[in-house]
Amino acid sequence: MLEVESLSASAGAFRLRNIDLMVAEGECHAVLGPSGSGKSTLLNAVLGILPPQHGRIRLDGADITHEPIECRGLGYLPQQIGLFPHLTVRDNVTYSARARGLPVAKFKPLMDKLIEATGIGALLPRLPHTLSGGERQRVALVRALTSQPRLVLLDEPFTSLNQSLRRELWWLMRDLQQQQRLTVLLVTHDLTEAYFLANRISVLMDGCIQQAGDKVTVYRQPATRNVAHFLGVNNLWDGIVTGHESGRLTIECPTLGFATSLPAGNKPLLPQTRVVVGILAEHVVLRDAEHPPKSNERLLTGSIRLLDFGPRWLIQFHHAASDLVLELHMNRRTAEHFGLTDKQSDITVGLPDSDLFWMPAD
């Protein structure tokens, strides 16, 4: 288990501030953030190449804050893969045993298992420059896991690969993580990668963790406007609390033109507090005669613009009665079923009350 407590560290002018993070044993935790948010600084501090200015890092209960890298028991998979170009695949994979002065035979059972699972057996006599991108990733993965690390650090290791290869390696990584019960800290800017591999997510922005939690909660209930924007949620509007009763808030939303009642959660808010109301693009639904609205839906009528993304369509809805603009996501089949065309008017959309969420205004 990794525990990062009140960690602060600087890299040049950039400062990572007061980071608290916990990765439970056997869990994959993704630190998700845009470029320059401090992901690499955090990873470097956990890895041991950046001394923290403040705070503690514990691994399985032991304080490793000031331990040298080689004593931390880590498996590290960097963005550039980091295979040793002058060593064969076999020598790369067995490097850890030799570096620790241990007999290779000690690691052999696990190594053989990993080699079989990743299918790199035929590559063992080859040099890294003769391998494809995907093969190199597999070798690097086996090398990092062979030493039975207490924590695996993944620094956006799959970003340079094409989509299908990435997905293939995500499956492999997920299988290995679950089979070996690996404790993994993944840093990435890629939402899909984070959601595919991780159980829990921390969103890091401007050197601070803005939100942490299980991935579904983080996705469905972003904590701040910045987090929501980073997660691709654009359907956000200013609102104001007008009442608080029986654990629910009444929020007036002038842009949407209605008031809604949403669960207050554990954040007590006084009336007249400014908040932000939002809904995920895929929770906005199209309504027509064949698909009548449900009782808890707010209906809006207007025109649409379409953007074809291949398997998915992005639909921009312009409310006829106001300057409200909404985004909808829809898979191609559903969109075609509705017979949508670009710039079509008289479209009705529904906003289910149960899918609206709120967050404090920044």
Binding site: L47, G48, I49, P68, I69, E70, R72, L74, G75, Y76, P78, Q80, G82, F84, P85, H86, Y95, S96, R98, A99, R100, R143, A144, S147, L153
Partner: protein, 258 residues
């Protein structure tokens, strides 16, 4: 004239300049003198002395340059900028001035003490090696630093994450990956030491059969107006130097593909 043609002409001009100068030696070349020169004990001694001194100086320079270059490449420490600047010192100061500095040093109390209780440098083989060593050290560090800079730091980090100590990561990852630069640095340092004249003559003098390296022998012949002898010795030096550089190119090619 297009860029390709202009640049190729410039490259061929470089060859013509150096090649022409070497070929022009033929005007004064007498095969009988060359043969006599190559078989004379004094010339053979000069060749042997030059080869041994250059090899020892280059070896010692690399021995110090490897850790120094690594520190300059990898660490930020107080005085780093000064060290980095001083590497150009032997280039800025002429070799003769460098030799004079060494000679003056051995005339101060510390230098005299070293000469009396340690190794005698002035007018000795050790002085030849020291003069060459001082001349080539800066360039050896500079070349090796460039080689270490080219080895990604990340590879060392990965090696350490796999359990290697910094020293082990250096010897098993960084140094093998910088081997091409290491070899190139040794060979260039060696070639520079082989042709070193100014500092050597200041520290070791021109003592026949003692400190007379090939460049000094050339100087001595020319000073004695022995043009044929000078030409013959120059050709020996050129052949030795070019032979070494060809060997280095071949070795570098092998290392690159290893």
């Amino acid at each position: 004239m297009n860029l390709r043609r202009t640049t190729i002409i410039a490259a061929l001009l470089v060859l013509a300049l150096y090649g022409g100068l070497i070929i022009s030696l033929g005007w004064f070349l007498k095969l009988s003198t060359l043969h006599g020169m190559l078989t004379s004990v004094r010339t053979l001694f000069s060749i042997q002395l030059s080869l041994i001194a250059a090899t020892v100086a280059a070896f010692l320079a690399i021995l110090l340059a490897v850790p120094a270059a690594y520190a300059l490449s990898r660490y930020r420490f107080r005085g780093r900028e000064v060290v980095d600047t001083i590497l150009e010192f032997p280039i800025i100061v002429s070799p003769a001035a460098l030799g004079a500095i060494l000679l003056i040093f051995f005339n101060n109390p510390l230098g005299e003490w070293i000469q009396a209780h340690g190794v005698r440098f002035v007018f000795t083989f050790a002085g030849v090696v020291l003069a060459q060593f001082i001349t080539i050290l800066g360039v050896a560090v500079r070349l090796l630093k460039t080689s270490f800079d080219e080895v990604p730091l990340e590879l060392e980090t990965v090696a350490r994450s796999l359990g290697a100590t910094p020293r082990r990561a250096f010897f098993t990852v960084t140094l093998p990956l910088a081997r091409r630069g290491l070899l190139a640095a040794f060979i260039l340092a060696w070639a520079k030491a082989l042709g070193e004249f100014g500092a050597t003559i200041m520290v070791a003098g021109t003592m026949a059969m003692r400190t007379e390296t090939l460049p000094i022998a050339i100087f001595m012949r020319l000073a004695g107006a022995d043009i044929e002898g000078t030409v013959a010795l120059i050709l020996v030096l050129v052949a030795t130097g070019l032979g070494a550089l060809s060997l280095s190119r071949w070795l570098l090619g092998k290392v690159a593909h290893a």
